[in-house]
Symmetry: C3
Subunit: 364 residues, 3 copies
């Protein structure tokens, strides 16, 4: 599947310099992890826990920080870069280019005569495009996708099979994975004296450019106004975004998170997997929410890191968890009043409780 | 998208009285929030935190409680109602009526000759209706929906695109959103000495009238007998209802909740987002489960409010969380035996810990 | 729906002996729970909490342990087996056999001329099979399923409607439920100085034999290499399996669980509902994770049972929850220094706190 290229070609595309004496004509066939890479493969070393693997790798060449280059065995060519993980991503893009979109509308699709399909777009079998929809240049609408009345899909955007989009404007170069649901009704009911009535959800969804949305995630339309996903937001699988939510630019949201109605996340937010954000709260820019947290009030400090439920500063949460852990470990006998009058040892041990290997992205 | 109507027309449809001197001929074009409403818009004031917005609104008229009517600026017409949020919902229904279902079967649908389709129903492209299925009057079967063998869909029920229904009877006037899965096998295996065998799931699903089920939710068929969703139940997105569960009338279940096998929820239950109900438990009528709770035993008291995991009375949970929070905040030095012998200050502060802004619906 | 058979026929198929005097010609029409079974029905008694129902059952015959046989009323035939629940499962298989797959390709499916479809396979309407895909003998591809380029579906495997499979090899006799997404991109981004770039996900998914995957679950392809689901794994609804995860043979994963990238579960794992496993951790064989737990570090002990978040040994977690519960129950007045200096009563009560009715499968 990979496109073979020479070391010189790779170096040129990544803007890096080959070490003296390296054979620029050597051909790379694939990118593989350090432990399985062979004589035709490129690999990379970023995370220090793979240093031992680096020492034994059989890879032809390895993207590596300058400080780590000496770890590589003789014959393995170090490709020195400041950020090996970033360079690895770029190398993958070069060696595994995305398939070009071949324009055309499948004869097995149903496209309204009142829809506007750019001639360079591709529509796969059994897609259904309703009246007033607009599909941009080079967009790819996968098999069985439904694009509702008046929906706009921007240039270069890919909808994988089985995505459905209603009442929405989707920007350019987005990637919408299979089973994503965009623009259905939010969950809104007014209740009084056992009478429950549905609040018609008459708003819409606006999605910026270069947004990615993972498989089977759901983004509801606003009750009034718009649910907004700003440019560059990356959403993992099975995430729920309720009506009237706003997600700030370049935020990343890991799998199975739920964001309740009308909440606003700042730019560059990072929300760990399985977390929940309650309704009507606001998070400042660059807030990190640890995995499995529940945020029930606004977070005003830029770059705050919160954890737990109800979510608090992550250091505070760690101390509380440490204390709780101590309570769980104590085996106090009925008569042991010294240990029982404790608190002391508990509190003391909290301070030395090692920071858990826990981070906002640990569930991604 | 809105249907324009005069203030007099609106007043008549909502059964309210215009204030003396109000111009009944004034035309309303849309419903908008207080802060963005303009001279042709209707708005509403229900939640007291929007009182400041009410004082500055430019809306033509505002649905408002009698006590709040004086807040509105001169020129803004107060429409006094006892429950502004309920009136808002009704106004939306009037001004944004649901599209009428146009009868007909798409030429791009596959409908078994042995299915019974009411002539007033609508079947969208690529729907598949198997033998013995019965589609009621005015029902709308969206694009790509699958209606399995012998399934019944009641009159006036809407299946949005990509819903699949097997082994089920669905009542009247229900709304089933995109990607909902109804009637697939429950998760049942018998295990003994490392032999794991599947328990055939031979039951079915029964869904009452006026039930709403959110996008990508899943409702499994019973192992034996029926999984039951009673009349008026409202289920949000990505909710999991396991085999043999029973959900009592008019209950509301917020997004990403899971209800495990054979559990029974009473009428008018309210289950906060991301909560879990363990298997084989029973909840009394009108129980509220706070968001992100885990209920592992039956709740016998009508109208009980529970929270946490394992879920307990919400007041108890708040005190426990307050205590835990105090443990997290203490910075005890090794030699500080007074604070260390604590417990006291912790326990004391629990009492004054303000009630968290936390409610069963906070994750909706 | 059931296939009627005589008591003798059932006994033969299950390899059990009828009690002396039992009428082997008696016909069984269905399998029903003890409390609703009638004179033509088979039932079973496994869980002791149904002993009272057994005493009053009207079933014709009951699968029962030898020690419980005497509970049954006169006229009810005891069918003595060592494992009634296993025998119940086998009886269901006999009396409710799965429908035979009728070979054939729907005229309303799109099948690439470059796909290989075994002549005994069945392809339902609107399925799309891309070039290079291979569908094995007796496989059933449901309505609207998408089988991507080069994907292999093993013999006897069933894809229910609306499943999508890309970049994957799926084994034999698997059951893939509606809305399952297999092989889409994992969630991988490299970030540095506010530049976020997507890491092309160029790996694949390998699924063993006799795997079951619940509705709307998602299994991402590997970044490099393979995401692996080994033989006999059973996955419930709405489970998220991230890129490069490995799930060991015969593991069971209850609904709404998330397993983050590159983690490895051993054989015969049992993961309770709504739990999360952080990325890059390894679980030993036969580990049980209680429902709603969050595992953030590796579990090295075979057969360990962990609970809570961060997950710890379940006994430790129970003690901690007991202590926390006590903190929540204490009503300490400001001046009550005795109770306040507590800790003692708390710790003491932890020891007698009854084990919660909580187990890894309690949310299934």
């Amino acid at each position: 599947m990979a496109v073979a290229l020479t070391l010189s070609e790779l170096a040129e595309k990544l803007g890096l310099t080959l070490p003296a004496g390296a054979n620029g004509a050597r051909v790379l066939q694939a990118v593989r992890p350090l432990d399985v890479a062979g004589a035709d493969d490129l690999s990379f070393l970023d995370n220090e826990k793979y240093r031992d693997q680096a020492k034994a790798t059989k890879a032809a060449a390895v993207l590596v920080r300058e400080a780590d280059a000496a770890l590589l065995p003789a014959g393995c060519i170090p490709l020195v870069v400041p950020q090996p993980y970033m360079a690895f991503a770029r190398a993958l893009m070069v060696m595994y280019p995305a398939a070009k979109v071949v324009p055309g509308i499948s004869e097995f699709a149903v496209v309204s005569a009142k829809a506007m399909i750019d001639p360079t777009a591709r529509i796969e079998p059994y897609a259904v495009i309703y009246a007033g929809a607009k599909i941009g240049a080079g967009a790819h609408i996968g098999a069985h996708c439904v694009v509702g009345e008046g929906v706009q899909i921007g240039a270069g955007t890919v909808l994988f099979s089985h995505a459905t989009v209603m009442k929405a404007v989707v920007g350019e170069r987005c990637v919408i994975h299979s089973g994503v649901r965009i623009g259905q009704d939010g969950f809104g009911f007014a209740a009084h004296n056992d009478v429950i009535i549905k609040i018609p959800q008459v708003g819409s969804v606006r999605i910026g450019n270069e947004v990615e949305i993972g498989a089977n995630s759901t983004i509801d339309c606003a009750a009034l106004g718009e649910t907004v996903i700003e440019d560059g937001v990356k959403i993992d699988n099975q995430v729920q975004i309720a009506h009237n939510v706003q997600i700030g630019k370049h935020s990343r949201i890991v799998a199975q998170v739920g964001v309740a109605g009308s909440s606003k996340l700042g730019q560059f937010s990072l929300i760990g997997g399985q977390s929940g954000i309650a309704g009507h709260v606001t998070l400042a820019d660059r807030v990190m929410v640890a995995a499995r947290s529940g945020v029930i009030k606004s977070v005003e400090n830029v770059s705050a890191v919160v954890a737990g439920f109800p979510a608090v500063d992550i250091q505070e949460w760690r101390r509380a968890m440490g204390a709780l852990s101590m309570l769980g470990r104590r085996k106090v006998k009925a008569g042991n009043s010294e240990a029982a009058a404790a608190g002391g040892p508990v509190a003391k041990e909290i301070e030395v409780h090692p920071a858990s290997p826990f981070a906002a992205e640990s569930f991604k």
